[in-house]
């Protein structure tokens, strides 16, 4: 049995309303850093609020260490939470903010002092203890919120989009800092975000959610390279995966994925999975960095179409090329090898190492 178990968890706000969280099942190991990732309205925040006790559940169970927590008050659950707005109390000094949870536990004064000091040092705000939140920057307030959350030594460390109110640069450095604190404290953490790069860079495992359901659970590399559904392939990665409508055609020993403007010979490793799809329409997805181009229009293994480069977007370390293939007018190609390519160049496109993903049109599930 895992440390945190979520079983058939359900949430609806009104008796006959839609399921905001739809039969969610998830096991989290002790010390793991889990990220709930999904667009707004996918149920990720609702789920974390049900774990924290801020929201009642409509069905299912949540257990920590084998013990159900759903009927307990937040303080009995051993959780602490960081909010999107930081929720640092404006009328208290930094010291009082961090000390308040301990005062509620009626700890002796000198122990409170010791623990507040340690928590402040962990986030490097020990010099700001006498200040009021109004006198601090957003990043400093966020550190206060983190200190206040770690000072209670929680069993579960819950973070609801804690970085989305920070400016871009600070957000990236706070990621590293939160990871560092997590490594040091070792507390089981759940982090909610809609930012896929945040999820990728922080998570031990990502839980991708969409419309109240879990689409995929996996390590960052798993959800990226081995997306389980079309939604995951689309949501994770910048620029997003390119999609094409293709039909599967069997010719002798070979299988082809054909569509408007392209013709791709499917690698034999996918033959058995695609066996039932001969003559049917499917979605074909290729990530921008798995499209290889040859400016001299040579054809190699993995060739799937010719194209003309419409725009070049240099990014410094790489360039994004934009082209039109069939009905998809916005195909993006990530290139490192051909950064000097000019707009208007005619090229041939290849799928690198057979890194193509096929999805069932009805279920959106990956065919593999």
């Amino acid at each position: 049995m895992s440390y945190l178990e979520i079983k058939n968890l359900q949430k609806r706000y009104t008796a006959k309303g839609p399921l905001i969280v739809d039969n969610m099942n998830l096991s989290i190991e002790k010390g793991e850093f889990i990220v709930f990732l999904g667009p707004s309205g996918c149920g990720k925040t609702t789920t974390i609020r049900m774990i924290s006790g801020l929201e009642e559940i409509s069905g299912g169970d949540i257990t920590v260490d084998g013990e159900s927590i759903v009927n307990k008050l937040p303080r009995e659950r051993g959780v602490s939470m960081i909010f999107q707005s930081y929720a640092v109390w404006p009328h208290m000094t930094v010291y009082d903010n961090i000390a308040y949870p301990l005062k509620l536990q009626k700890l002796p004064k000198d122990e409170i002092k010791k623990r507040v000091q340690a928590a402040a040092e962990a986030t490097e705000i020990q010099g700001l203890l006498k200040r009021y939140p109004a006198q601090m920057s957003g990043g400093q307030r966020q550190r206060v919120a983190v200190s206040r959350a770690i000072v209670v030594e929680p069993r579960l460390f819950l973070m609801d989009e804690p970085l989305s109110n920070l400016d871009a640069k600070l957000r990236v450095s706070m990621r590293t800092e939160l990871k560092r604190i997590h490594t040091k404290q070792g507390s089981t953490s759940i982090f909610v975000t809609h930012d896929q790069s945040e999820a990728m860079s922080m998570a031990d495992r990502i839980v991708v959610m969409y419309k109240g359901k879990i689409e995929q659970i996996g390590t960052p590399m798993e959800v990226y390279q081995d997306s389980a559904t079309r939604f995951v392939a689309e949501f994770i990665g910048t620029p997003p995966t390119n999609f094409f409508d293709a039909s599967i055609v069997r010719e002798g020993q070979e299988i082809y994925a054909r569509g408007e403007g392209f013709d791709y010979k499917v690698p034999s490793s996918l033959h058995s999975a695609l066996a039932g799809y001969a003559g049917k329409e499917i979605d074909m997805g290729i990530r921008p960095e798995y499209i290889d181009i040859l400016p001299d229009q040579r054809k190699q293994d993995g060739y799937f179409c010719d194209a003309r480069i419409d725009f070049v977007e240099p990014q410094g370390s790489h360039s994004i090329l934009i082209t039109e293939i069939g009905a998809n007018k916005n195909v993006k190609i990530h290139t490192v090898d051909h950064m000097d390519i000019k707009q208007g160049t005619k090229v041939s496109c290849h799928v690198k190492n057979g890194m193509v993903m096929f999805f069932d049109k009805e279920s959106s599930k990956r065919i593999k």
Partner: protein, 294 residues
Amino acid sequence: MHKNMKKATPYLLLFPIFIYYAVFWLAPVASGIKEVFVGMDGDFTLTENLKLMFRSDLFSESVLNTAAFAAISVVLQYVIALVLALLLSRKFIGSRFLMFISMIPMAITPTATAILWKTGLVKDGWINSLLMGLHIIDNPIVFMNAEGFQAILLLIVIDTWTVTPSVMIILIAGLQGLQKELKEAAYTFGANKWQILKDITLPILRPSITTSVIMRMIAAVQVWSIAVMVLGYSKAPFLVERIAFYVDAIPGVDTSTKLAYTYSFLTTIVVLLATVIYLRVSGRNKIAAGGEDE
């Protein structure tokens, strides 16, 4: 030159306001204060008019009544308004309707309020018939005969009925401006509802509470119209009621004009003192000043 013009522009634009204040505000205030320190004979005097006021009829009653009225009514109105505001700021079926009902007293003019209560308070008025109908009392109470402290209590009830909604609205506005996550954070860290109210909600609301308490206090010290309209002059003497009495009820007598001015002067001093003391006690400047780095 051009730069100087630019600097002067705001003052030029505000100049008419300055004139307005000087003519219609500063001048009457100054002449009012002057009257207090000019005796019947037209000579300067520091204490003559004050002594006249101290020895005048009902002086100590009016001071005590005003103090009692201000203290009790402000506290009572805040407690009731806070309870109502906390109740109405959460969404429940009928909360909008209840809000509408509770705001009705605000829309009624003081004169109408006085008439409404007067018709209720007379011996065969609606209050007695209601209480008797509910079998709370057997014989009608003669409210209008109320004297002394009872009269003050009666006026406190009427004033509370009239004023509580406006206090409630200020508090509801403050509560709605309060970020939900501030309370939720306290809740997840183990605070119960009472602790959240005491440690988070009320302290954060303090600036808006402070401002409105001062305004309520000033208004309470200036009470008179309800007292006069419901009970008549001299039944429940207050500071401002005395001013009105000397101006309105016995005009033309030399001393009465002097007394009116002197009472006005005293009222102003009382309001000023009360405000300063309240600001000190409530420690409102604490947050703004803040702490220092270690």
